[in-house]
Symmetry: D3
Subunit: 241 residues, 6 copies
């Protein structure tokens, strides 16, 4: 994606993105069942770097497996590119952890834009405090070896019932996480910026007592004019800042 | 309901109401699976104004349907009476939104007492900040057209496995949402006020180290006397304020 | 457990305990599906004192049953030992409450270390404010008589899919609740203290930019040496305090 | 629908219909979670006649309500048109029955084409033996008054997560139940007949050892020719019968 | 229960029993989520003999535990009285077996009237063939030690969300399993016999083309007379047999 | 596996295999939630050949994708080795089909030993009739493109919460499907044969009225002797056949 796309996406909501994707026939891009470990953080934006788990078989997953520096979970954390979001396919199973605070901290230090699992994180209080957004289903203390075996890095996965391809653009806010197919990211970002501007105008109007009829969606000409005028004022305000 | 009923209900808990309804054989009036978007708000009280969703069929739910000012979702928001709670039957499906912040804002401005869905809201961070209580299952960014089609206004519905009839009195606190059948609202409110008074007395005693035996429920005569005396003190205190 | 065990467990996380138990082949000791009513409280530690519920049969559970001072729920609250955690087997059913704020308050006043149910509490806002940790699945206003009948005190139970025997050591933090078999508590506590020390070292290193390879788990000799040195510094720091 | 449409639909599978609807962008027309009470019956085809249930409130649903000849459940059974399928919105709740064998028998005698609920039937062994197809989630003995209150007749409903409008064409076989929007029934039936013919040809070929590559779907010219020839033979065979 | 009660219950359906219990305010006596391993068997009737499982802890459940002749599962099988139904509280967990064909065979040989679990049986094909009714959620091959630990015999339990007290009368047919509180068994049996007689009459009428209005439930006088006459004919027929 | 292993496994039950695996610490090898489409078929035995699905993205899954002869689903069917079982990771989602009767027929003709999905098959009545065992969660008519995108062939997958590696030995009977790690297949088969022999002896004894105490498991010496004698008789009987 363009560098401006990242900036744009940081200012729009997952709800607005969902509508932009819906208009293109993409109705299943919201990762179901995940929420931020900490609310109110800046919007998460980054390309997907994926990690695939399968169920753990007991004989293959003693605690000693992590001594192997090539263990896929550890490799994922050490190779996830700067600015990317690590998205983990935990098969919607949060009965054991997908990862803990040390790995999340390492990811943050390495410059990752965020971490998402459709399972759960352990040390959730620590992860919540990190300066990096994180999303899961619920907290889960058991080590991931209990139920998960890391298998592949950066292959197409499912996460929360959504297809995630490496390089897809992942956006997260307090509602949850949206997956934008890579080839659409730039145009969706641009469209979402414009939609957001109009939504801000509508919100202001609604809070001032206006009806939504004819305003949301815009079907009355007078609202269009009012919007154009409002936009000019906004730009004026910004210039003065 | 009587205007005093609204005031009374604003001072009692859904737990106390549940017990009062239980005594009358009504054991299924708590909307299952919903929670406040923001905790610690004043208790929500209002008559139910309902909106019924059915699953969305793709050909009937393009984004353009909202251009119709008669779309039931928009009509519901523009006709919900002042002081009422909009209760949405989303069939317990939170995989797409039931509504977003603009509609919730409009409802608030129009004087609604609150909004409840057994699905999820989008723009949940914005709705949480509104000066109006709101309840859902979980946040959900996808537009409601993705999975829901608004069908009827103010018909009897199910919400979170509870029957909700238009005019039923809806009460919400941090535990969740209670549905009081309309014809019982006044007497339940009166009874709940008295129960609450006793519970406050009990809590004070318990925190002071008293056993609950004979006190909760009241079976020892000495506790009855202590309660009567406590009530007089309370009244005295209030009069002085 | 030793009194020092309680102190040790108050300084370690459920995640660390899960790993220590995993090493001993105990992979199913994390109570699934419960969370703290209030985050950020001190770690809960105490021996399990259990209460078993079965489904309520309507004729056996009128509101009057609580007038019996021998009702198991009330007896549990009045006999739970100081320092113990009351663990309730609610059969993972949170559609009615497991208990409310008055009982929780009484428990706290009597010196209990905490309360856990795999169902839900009513008056959840009040319980969250108590000076005692509490864990449930979700808030639930209906009185427990609606769906639960208290049956036994201090028998082995299931709670959140985990076997809980009276006397097992229960530990809770923001991730949730861990059950340590009684006979392992002392050794697990000791081991967890040491693991925690190393994890603190690792976290410091990771935040300072070190790779996790060779460090977590410890496989490089230089990290072992660095850890030994760090420990000495830590002890020095503590002595000065 | 045309009378020939009914005949055509009786010879095609719900799987084939699903594909025909998929091609038109209708991806959510299969009623989720229902199965035939008895397998191997003739394909069920009929226009939807709907019945909407909401959760039962105890005071409104004593056993005596059925004495009212206008009770919606009884009216539905007595007014469902000949050739129609009664589709019941039970909110996917099979913990109490949607109906029992006497009502199903009456429906059959009155000429209904079938009965579907996303809940469960009682007297399921009796209903399974009727000369009329029936579909539910699972058997359920409790009377419907326990959890369901019949509310509306022939309004749009949800059934198994699918929108069902009165007059939609309902088709059921051993896989389950498909909902064809009324306006598409004739063209879908025609298309499905042709698809079925080709699938029969493919099946014959596959069982004779042919690869599916180029055959299913048809992409190799020689298979097209073989199909044309096969069709002529089939017609010849039929004429001789 | 009276010996005639057992005979009576063998001729009525769980649906009829559910209605008789509903009339007495007992709305939750149908074991949810279980079905017969084999349909079409004679109705199961017997007093409940219960077995309580808790989740298995790995160290307490090696395969060797069964060498202890006092293992509660084995004791239950060897002490379940003749004519009783073994009801197992498996906490609705069918991911491991509740029991297998050898134990079920032993129960049958010892004269048990049936076996019920809200989990699953292994060797399900063998159990289905036994000359004793059996009910479970679904087949499950893993040994019960995998997830279940047998704990108590003949204590009150929950099974499929229903309270089951030792001695309650258990009745099973193709719909599933009903739990009749012990003290009501005789009167419920008598009432159900009469209800069944009327239902047989109604079914005959309905299949002959009569409307259900006024007939089911009986509100028209002429139907009452017809029923009285039909009963006399029935008795005549039986006498002749 | 040895060719004799296949033969041995065809004569033992998944329950017996589960116990043999349990003894080796492998407690999670039973595919959860699947059942045979048709009961009473010969035991399915074969090496796993896997197919991995991810959620379908609408723009990548028009009906035309099947025209590509390299579509992974089609390639899987055309390359699955003779004697192997095709195991599909459908992410436990049966809301759309994993495959239909034409592909299953092709697999059968090509010599596959069976087909398993943790989703559902369409044309289930046809597949049930094939001369090849098949297992799924439930029937599902919608084309797999609706929700599934075939992604990989013969990679490690999860199926019904079990890890399945290519080459693992898959065994299915009426209870469901067991996954035996490849390296254990020969020894497990041998052990299961012996266990089965003893179980046959026990069943015979139990049906003849013997107690299970001391017999199952074998702890009484006299039973050991009786078994040895019974084995000799069995061998004698077989030799005479």
């Amino acid at each position: 994606m363009l560098s401006t796309t990242r900036e744009k996406l940081q200012t729009v909501s997952t709800a607005t993105l969902a509508t932009a994707l819906f208009k293109r026939g993409l109705k299943n891009q919201f990762i179901q069942g995940v929420k931020p470990l900490s609310k109110g953080k800046p919007t998460m934006v980054g390309e997907a770097f994926t990690l695939r788990y399968i169920p753990a078989r007991e004989d293959l997953n003693p605690i000693s497996v992590f001594q192997d520096p090539k263990h896929p979970q550890r490799v994922a954390v050490e190779t996830c590119p700067k600015g990317a979001v690590l998205v983990i396919d935990s098969r919607k199973n949060s009965r054991a952890a997908s990862a803990g605070s040390i790995l999340a901290s390492r990811l943050m230090v390495r410059g990752a834009a965020g971490i998402v699992t459709d399972g759960g994180f352990r040390d959730s209080a620590e992860i919540a405090k990190l300066n990096m957004p994180s999303y899961h289903h619920r907290a889960s203390a058991p080590t991931n070896l209990t139920l998960h075996q890391a298998m592949d890095i950066n292959v197409p996965i499912g996460c929360g019932d959504v297809a995630v391809f490496p390089g897809d653009v992942i956006v997260g806010d307090d509602d949850g996480v949206m997956v934008i197919p890579a080839h659409l990211a730039d145009e969706i970002a641009e469209e979402a910026i414009n939609m957001t501007l109009y939504e801000d105008f509508v919100t202001e109007r609604v809070l001032a007592g206006h009806t939504i009829v004819g305003l949301y969606p815009l079907t009355k000409e007078e609202n269009r004019e009012a919007f154009e005028q409002w936009k000019k004022q906004q730009e004026g305000t910004k210039e003065k800042e």
